[in-house]
Symmetry: C2
Subunit: 155 residues, 2 copies
C-alpha cells in the first residue's frame, strides 16, 4: 500500500537525518543549549529516545527498553544541571530504540498498521478509526522533525 | 482512504499550530533571530510561505501567488538586513497561501493524490511511484515542523 509506505519511508528518512546530525555534532556541541536558556542538545536526544522508546508498548510490540530515561527526559524539562547519562550513552540508546522499532515495523501488514494503538479503547476507536498505529508513527515523525530543527542550531 | 486522510489531517494540524504560534509571537519577537546568528523569525515565516506557495504549481493547482518572495526567502539565506516585507504582511501571505492550498486539497480524490507531482517525468514516475502529490504534502509537513521547532524558541 503506497500511502502506508510513504509514511514509513518518511519516518526512516527523518530518523536517519537526525542520526547523521548527532554524529556530526559530537559530545561537546551537544552539551550546549540550542538557544539561550533553552534545552541542551543532550536533553533533546534523551527526550527523543524516551519518546521513541514509549512507542514500543504503544504500538503493542514490547515493554520499553530504557525505563530509566522517563524521569529525566519525559517527566521533567531540562533543568540545565548535570544528567545521569553521557551523550555517547544516549546516542547508543537512540540507535538501539530505533533499530528495535524498525525490526517490528518490518513485520506489520497494511492491515496491522490500521489497528488501534494501545492507549485508545475499543469503544473510542470505533468512533475515531484514525487513532491507529500508522498515525502514531506519523505524529512522532513530525515531533522528531520539530526537535531536529532545534538540534540543527548547534551545528 | 484512511492513510491519505491522516496525512492531510497532519498537514492541517501542523499549519494550524504554526499559525497559532505566529499570532502569539507578534511582530516584535519575530524580528529576533531564533538563536545567535541564525535565521530571524520573520525570515522563517517568509521561507515557509514561499515553500508552501511553490506547492501550488508543483501539485498542478495554479501558478504561485507571491513570486516576489522567492528571491528573499528561497534563493538566499537570512542576511539579517532589513527585508522588503513586514511580519504582518508575511503572515497575511502565509494565511492566503495555506487557504488556497486547502481549497484545492478538498477537491482531490485518493486516486488524484497518488498521481505524480509536476517536477517528475512520466518515465521516472513509472519507476518511482512514491513521487506523488501526497508525498509532497507529507515532506512539506515535516519541513514545516522542523522550522516550527525553531520559531517556538522565540516564545
Amino acid at each position: 500500500m503506497m500511502q502506508t509506505q510513504i509514511i514509513i519511508d518518511s519516518w526512516n528518512t527523518t530518523v536517519q537525518h537526525t542520526s547523521d546530525l548527532l554524529t556530526k555534532l559530537g559530545e561537546e556541541k551537544m552539551m550546549k543549549a540550542v538557544a539561550p536558556n533553552r534545552n541542551r542538545g543532550i536533553y533533546l536526544v534523551g527526550h527523543l529516545t524516551a519518546a521513541h522508546d514509549a512507542m514500543l508498548p504503544l504500538l503493542g510490540f514490547r515493554e520499553v527498553m530504557f525505563p530509566e530515561l522517563k524521569d529525566s527526559f519525559l517527566r521533567n524539562p531540562d533543568n540545565l544541571e548535570p544528567l545521569p547519562f553521557t551523550a555517547t550513552d544516549l546516542i547508543q540508546k537512540w540507535t538501539a530504540v530505533n533499530d528495535e522499532l524498525k525490526k517490528h515495523f518490518n513485520h506489520l501488514s497494511t492491515e496491522d498498521w490500521l489497528q488501534k494503538h494501545n492507549t485508545v479503547s475499543e469503544e473510542d476507536f470505533a468512533k475515531e478509526p484514525h487513532r491507529n498505529k500508522l498515525n502514531v508513527v506519523l505524529s512522532r515523525t513530525i515531533h522528531l522533525s520539530y526537535h531536529q530543527g532545534q538540534l540543527a542550531l548547534l551545528k
